[in-house]
């Protein structure tokens, strides 16, 4: 600590930081009401929201580095205001192996568009899918057993 005080460059630097911080404190703060925005609502198949999941937003020109990191709200929603047009990517990750990403195309007029979630529209629902799948699986194994046993019998 004493060494720190005796280093003139460090002392001057911290003085500058202190002055800047004080100057910033002297600024008033106020908020404007912001309406609209663009975002997603992330849900599990059951319709349950992906609440408090990690969200990363990737800007159109920098797809590898998160432009913003946040979390979904209790309803699984996340909204932001894209500062410029382009394809913005939102990744939602519940930290337990359930993760998704969606691309949102923002036009020059600020209007956003997201492709339909193919993964959900083309899938059967709940019970019928479950029964169908069980049927498929048992049938598949049945056929397999049949083919395996055939040469032995002859």
């Amino acid at each position: 600590m004493a060494g720190f005080l005796h280093n003139p460059r460090l002392t001057a630097g911290s003085l500058l930081v202190w002055l800047t911080a004080t100057a910033a404190l002297a600024h008033g703060v106020h908020a404007d009401l912001l309406e609209g925005g663009t975002g997603v609502r992330a849900r599990f198949d059951t319709g349950e929201p992906m609440a408090f999941a990690d969200v990363k937003v990737f800007a159109p020109d920098a797809p590898n580095e998160a432009w913003l990191e946040s979390t979904t709200d209790p309803e699984g929603r996340f909204v932001f205001v894209p500062p410029r047009p382009g394809v913005w990517r939102i990744a939602v990750d519940d930290g337990m192996g359930h993760a998704l990403f969606r691309d949102i195309a923002v036009g020059a007029d600020g209007h956003a568009h997201m492709d339909d979630d193919h993964h959900h529209h083309h899938h059967l629902h709940g019970l019928s899918a479950a029964i169908g799948g069980v049927g498929f699986i048992l049938g598949l194994f049945g056929m397999w057993a049949l083919f395996r046993q055939r040469p032995k019998k002859n």
Binding site: G95, A130, I137
Partner: protein
Amino acid sequence: MHISDGILSPPILAGGAVLAAAGVAQGLRKIRDDDIPKTALLTAAFFVTSLVHIPAGPTSVHLLLNGLIGILLGWAAFPALLIGLLFQSLLFGHGGLSVLGVHTATVGIPAVAFGLAWRRWAAAMPPPKAAGLAGLGAGLCVALTALFTATILVFSGSHWLTTAKAFLAAHAVLMAGEAFLTFFAVAFLLRVRPTLLLGEAK
């Protein structure tokens, strides 16, 4: 453990696919004709249980059953899990097709490792102790799968801390649930049909 397409990096996807392919090949070599009905039933059970959600903290988890599957199927767990995950992806949209190898590996490796070890140890144990070990192991299998998944997500840019916290909160519930379920299932089978579990231990 359902990650969509496009989240994991290609090397991780390729690594998972290689591990899964090796496991499935070994499973297909080891499986006997008599095991096929059992494998079919467990594959169907695994496929359906991903629909059973247990609320846990802010989110929910679903049953995994990989410990029980490992004990009952041994190496055959790999093809069983691959087929179950494939149909979950195709019919429910749970997890992407490109992630199939990674999922099979993260769920299957703990299952098979523990299943093979359990068969060796349980043969020399009194049934209640063997069932208790099965329950503990099933909890451990869930933990390992969650840990593998969390690690893979970290390599793909997820936050380790958030992941670990959520992992602890939600998977503790699932670990306990799976441990109980596996304990009762194995205790029941040891009493009713021990050959189903230990028949092919040789």
